[in-house]
């Protein structure tokens, strides 16, 4: 003991003071500030999303159109990565060392402690190689998920594709989707997204600081299972679709085949198409860019989005609505001197023939422009009312055939085509004193009217059904139960009594089955197919070819529309294609003469267009005269050239 004994108390005082400071701080941390308690929960409890398998899509016979294939995402936790053979690693997953460095940097930027995706969607082949060596690469591990795969590479535009959600999708879904999720972008994938995606499950896992699972939380009591997406049975007939796609190779255009009794779509071809498998996997971005820039626009869904004047096939609609209006009947005869003169002799709409007296049936068989000129003139000018009012009646009747508005098919982005209004003409001609002479080309499906290929096929379905249709649709059953959406079982009447169909059908039959019919060369022995050719005038290049038909005449099983852009006369290309598809569907063989088949398979129509005719909206109309190339051609001489050019067309 010495003089400084009392300093003991100072030192002890310091000890006590420091201990008190610590206790006060602990009091604050543990009792006052409860933000740490909740941080701790977040630290430990990790809700892992269990992704459900997306629903498969089958064709009408149960064959697979889309299914899922496992792929492997490679993840990395940067802090766990040890020295390793980078070159071998790069070789195994098929990247270059530069790419390795770049990915590593990205992962580190994200987090050194948490796993982030190093490489997406490694194929099972690459995965098999990688797996053997994976133990050498500390910090890397693999997580599997599934991607879409299309075993036959068919029906790309019909099925659509899925893509990673963007911020818009996330916001719109009310945060249902999270970044990295996939969503149907087009086609069935988009239309039936809610059914296909299934229900996500949640797995509550305890994880450590490195996000490594440490077991289930509360023995999985709060976990939910993932529910796989519904499988969809589409209306498509896969074999028919494959065949139709083969036929449409090297052509621009559409094929739509509908089962008239149900409205189910049997084939749905948009050509040129693309291999749907291109929209999956690591090269997706690259492929997408290529497809998007292709001048032939393979991503464009022509059957529902391309709008063309229908051409001669529209005579069928005029024949039906004119009968219903009482303007003509089966006995009505017009004389065809080789063309229809109108406007007091100032205008002339020519025919390919001069058949003399022509009745309804013959008018269809021979595709007589004169007959329909007269018919249209009666409907517009002789109804005991001003022409524009009569035109409204005509328009209303026409639209009942599903024209001028979308049909309501279960595919996003469907266009409705257009049937111009009376006001349109009143505005165009400055007053409402116009008559049928001013839009006579509507009588033969030219001019301002536009319809989509699926609407064309639907007209045939109406004729096949003698007066009604079911909304065309892509999906006939959802999941195990064969549920069809109610809107697809509703019978929609076209407003023309069934008795008026018979003469028209007889005419359609003669088109194919009687010598002198415009499509006699494609008749199918033993099956009475009823059809109609059409040639759509295209001021930008070669005419578009169209053929629509249904078969057999009694109890029809298939209604079809074939539209080939820039292919010239309808009977030459569109007709044989339709004939082959119909026979293939009904009898599973093709008996069409070999030279016709060869012509279809071998001709390259893609390069026949003139450079200026990139015209995907089908905006080519026949306001101007055009030299016919084929001897059977129906030639139009419409005097619309004297009129101001219509809006929206250069």
């Amino acid at each position: 003991m010495n003089n400084f004994f009392t300093r003991k108390y100072a030192i002890q005082g310091i000890f006590i003071a420091v201990a008190l400071i610590i206790v006060i701080r602990l009091f604050y941390l543990q009792l006052i500030d409860d933000s740490f308690a909740s941080s701790a929960d977040n630290n430990v409890l990790r809700k892992t999303i269990v992704y459900p398998a997306r629903g498969v899509i089958l064709d009408r016979n149960g064959e697979v159109l889309v299914q899922n294939e496992p792929v492997y995402d490679l993840l990395v936790t940067p802090i766990e990565v040890k020295e390793m053979d980078t070159l071998l690693f790069c070789r195994l997953i098929d990247i270059d060392p530069e790419g390795f460095k770049r990915r590593m940097e990205t992962a580190k930027k994200h987090s050194r402690y948490r796993a982030s995706i190093f490489e997406k969607q490694i194929s099972s082949v690459n995965y098999a190689q990688l797996q053997e060596h994976l133990y050498k690469f500390k910090g890397f591990y693999v997580q599997n998920r599934t991607v879409r795969t299309y075993p036959d590479s068919v029906a790309a535009q019909f099925l659509g594709y899925i893509q990673e959600v963007n911020q818009n999708d996330i916001d719109r879904s009310g945060k249902f989707y999270r970044p990295g999720d996939y969503i149907g972008a087009t086609g069935v994938e988009r239309a039936y997204e809610e059914l296909l995606r299934g229900q996500r499950g949640v797995k509550n896992q305890l994880v450590d600081a490195f996000n490594r699972p440490q077991g289930a939380y509360a023995d999985g009591r709060f976990d939910t299972l993932a529910v796989a997406g519904e499988s969809l049975v589409s209306s498509l007939d896969k074999q028919l679709q494959i065949f139709a796609e083969q036929l449409m190779k090297n052509k621009r255009g559409s094929v739509v085949a509908i089962e008239p009794a149900t409205g189910e779509i049997l084939a749905f071809v948009s050509s040129p198409g693309y291999d749907p498998n291109l929209m999956v996997g690591r090269k997706r971005g690259e492929n997408y860019a290529k497809l998007a820039q292709d001048p032939d626009m393979p991503m464009f869904i022509r059957p529902t989005q391309a709008q063309y004047p229908p051409g001669s096939i529209f005579k069928v609609v005029n024949a039906l609505t004119a009968q219903q209006a009482g303007m003509i009947d089966e006995q009505t005869i017009f004389n065809c001197p080789g063309g229809y003169s109108y406007g007091g002799g100032r205008g002339w709409m020519g025919c390919t023939h001069a058949d003399g007296p022509t009745g309804l049936i013959k008018s269809i068989q021979r595709s007589c422009n004169t007959f329909y000129g007269h018919t249209f003139a009666r409907m517009i000018d002789r109804r005991g009312m001003p022409a524009h009012e009569a035109y409204d009646l005509w328009r209303e009747a026409t639209m009942k055939f599903g024209l001028g508005q979308p049909l309501g098919i279960d595919l996003p982005g469907e266009k409705g085509g257009s049937v111009p209004t009376a006001e349109y003409y009143t505005k165009r001609y400055g007053n409402n004193r116009w008559t049928s002479s001013f839009n006579i080309s509507l009588s033969i499906g030219q001019g301002e009217i536009e319809i989509t290929p699926i609407q064309m096929a639907n007209i045939m379905a109406i004729v096949a059904n003698r007066g009604f249709y079911y909304r065309p649709h892509l999906i006939k059953a959802i999941g195990e139960q064969q549920i069809v959406k109610p809107e697809f079982t509703e019978k929609i009447y076209a407003g023309v009594e069934s008795k008026y169909y018979e003469p028209v059908i007889e005419g359609l039959s003669q088109v194919v089955n009687m010598p002198g019919g415009t499509a006699n060369s494609i008749k199918i022995n033993g099956i009475e197919m009823c059809g109609k050719t059409g040639t759509v005038q295209n001021p930008h290049g070669n005419n578009h070819a169209v053929f629509f038909a249904f078969a057999p005449r009694e109890n029809p099983k298939i209604a079809i529309a074939v539209f080939v852009e820039n292919a010239g006369y309808g009977g030459v290309v569109a007709g044989p294609i339709a004939s082959m598809i119909v026979e293939k569907y009904l009898r599973d063989t093709v008996t069409l003469p070999q030279y016709l088949q060869d012509r279809i398979f071998n001709t390259d129509y893609l390069n026949r267009r003139s450079p200026a005719s990139v015209n995907p909206t089908g905006d080519g109309t026949a306001d101007e005269t055009n030299t016919a190339e084929e001897e059977e051609e129906e030639i139009l001489f419409v005097h619309h050239s004297a009129l101001p050019p219509r809006y929206g067309y250069q």
Binding site: M1, N2, N3, F4, F5, R7, K8, A10, I11, Q12, F15, I16, V18, A19, I21, I22, V23, R25, L26, F27, L29, Q30, L31, D33, D34, S35, F36, A37, S39, A40, N43, V44, S111, R112, Y113, L206, V207, D208, A209, F210, Q214
Partner: protein, 425 residues
């Protein structure tokens, strides 16, 4: 102490302070249970599994007990006379470790012996303490003078420099706690201690705030002291000089901080002062540590129920961050109890120190108290975010053989001196 107790403890040569031994044992056991909890894995339980930290710690505790009891039977004179030898050996080890040492976590601080690693800097604290007590006790009949103060300071500074070379700033700072010895022995005045405390305070403040604000605040406080002081005439000159010295010091700190500190220390300091918010980088340890302790709340989550420490959220949870496990699983109640036990031990050591008859034993005892206090305050302080994260263990509780042995030896030598205090040293 009662004389009639004497024969009961003759085995260890006198009055062993069994209370302190019990506190020591208690702390070791608390340590062991929490190390067990920190690495607890229900699938691989096994108390003496030598591949686990708690298995090894069992061995460390048993061997520390054996060493402790051995110390109690050795003649107390041995430690006094051997102090220079120990010191020399320690210096050699500290040099050796710089040459042959094993680099762990950026510090060249370990000598590998078999599967165990020895950390000479832990033992350096012990031998420095002994030599300092030995030297200062030789001067104790003289008035405290500058020469012996400088010699004493040199005894401390040599190992400090060697430890800094490793570089192990945390251990080096621990030697600074020996300042309490110089204070107790009268080498340093109360004013000086006040200045040191002020210096530490200003150091932290100058990193936290703009220097001009601190100077302004300082001027304000000094002005108030001057105004309300009854003897303001006498205070004028000291206050003004203090003001200028302090201001110069603040700028010096600013300069030293930016130019002398290692970047990782600088960033740790900045994190703790809240100047940078970086919960994934340098702040990770501290942030996770605070989450673990804070989530314990009043009663804690219960033994082995902690989620933060068990799942490796807190790094170094068995060693430097062992207090997180206690805070999380035992809560505020358990933490305060532990702090109470520690404070009891520290105060008791001071009381033991003051009852020694020899200056040697007293000075040594103060050294023990200072070192334990420093580790206690800094270690717990860093886990709760009031001092920078510098890696030093919590004595008797943190996992590790070197630290447990050196702290136990430190304590048991004191107990030997105490038991023997009636004898002649």
């Amino acid at each position: 102490m009662a004389i009639n107790n004497q024969h009961r403890h003759t085995l260890f040569g006198g009055n062993v302070d069994w209370v302190t031994v019990l506190v020591w044992l208690l702390l070791c056991l608390i340590g062991w249970f929490n190390i067990y909890a920190a690495v607890y894995d229900p699938e691989h339980a096994g108390l003496f599994n030598l591949t686990t930290n708690y298995g090894k710690q069992s061995i460390f505790i048993l061997s520390a007990a054996v060493i402790g009891l051995t110390i109690l039977v050795i003649d107390a004179k041995f430690f006094a006379s051997m102090a220079p030898v120990f010191y020399g050996i320690t210096l050699l080890l500290l040099i050796a470790v710089l040459i042959f040492g094993r680099n762990v976590g950026g510090n060249q601080a370990w000598i590998q012996i078999g599967s165990f690693r020895l950390q000479p800097s832990e033992f350096a604290k012990l031998s420095t303490c002994l030599l300092l007590a030995w030297y200062l006790s030789g001067q104790s009949n003289k008035t405290p003078n500058m020469r012996s103060l400088l010699t004493g300071a040199l005894i401390v500074l040599v190992p400090v420099v060697l430890v800094l070379l490793q570089p192990d700033t945390g251990s080096a700072l621990a030697f600074g706690s020996l300042i309490f010895i110089f204070y107790r022995e009268g080498y340093l005045s109360s004013n000086f201690m006040f200045m040191v405390g002020l210096a530490i305070l200003l150091f932290v403040l100058s990193l936290l705030f703009n220097e001009w604000w601190i100077i302004l605040g300082m001027a304000l406080i000094m002005g108030l002291v001057f105004y309300f002081s009854p003897r303001r005439q006498r205070l004028l000159v000291p206050l003004i000089s203090l003001f200028f010295i302090a201001s110069a010091y603040i700028f010096l700190v600013e300069f030293a901080y930016n130019n002398l500190l290692q970047p990782h220390h600088r960033s740790r300091i900045e994190v703790i002062l809240g100047q940078i918010d970086d919960p994934r980088g340098e702040g990770y340890n501290l942030n996770q540590s605070k989450i673990a302790i804070g989530s314990g709340q009043f009663w804690g989550k219960g033994y082995l129920q902690g989620t933060q420490t068990k799942y490796n959220f807190v790094p170094e949870q068995s060693t430097d961050f062992i207090f997180c496990t206690i805070g999380e699983e035992w809560g505020f109640a358990g933490s305060v109890l532990l702090i109470g036990i520690y404070l009891f031990l520290l105060l008791r050591i001071i009381n033991i120190a003051e009852r020694q008859r020899t200056a040697f034993a007293r000075i040594y005892a103060y050294g023990v108290a200072s070192i334990l206090f420093f580790h206690f305050a800094i270690n717990i302080g860093m886990t709760i975010g009031i001092v920078p994260v510098i890696g030093i263990p919590l004595p008797f509780i943190s996992y590790g053989g070197s630290s447990l042995w050196s702290f136990s030896v430190l304590l048991f030598i004191l107990l030997k001196f105490d038991a023997n205090r009636k004898g002649v040293v």
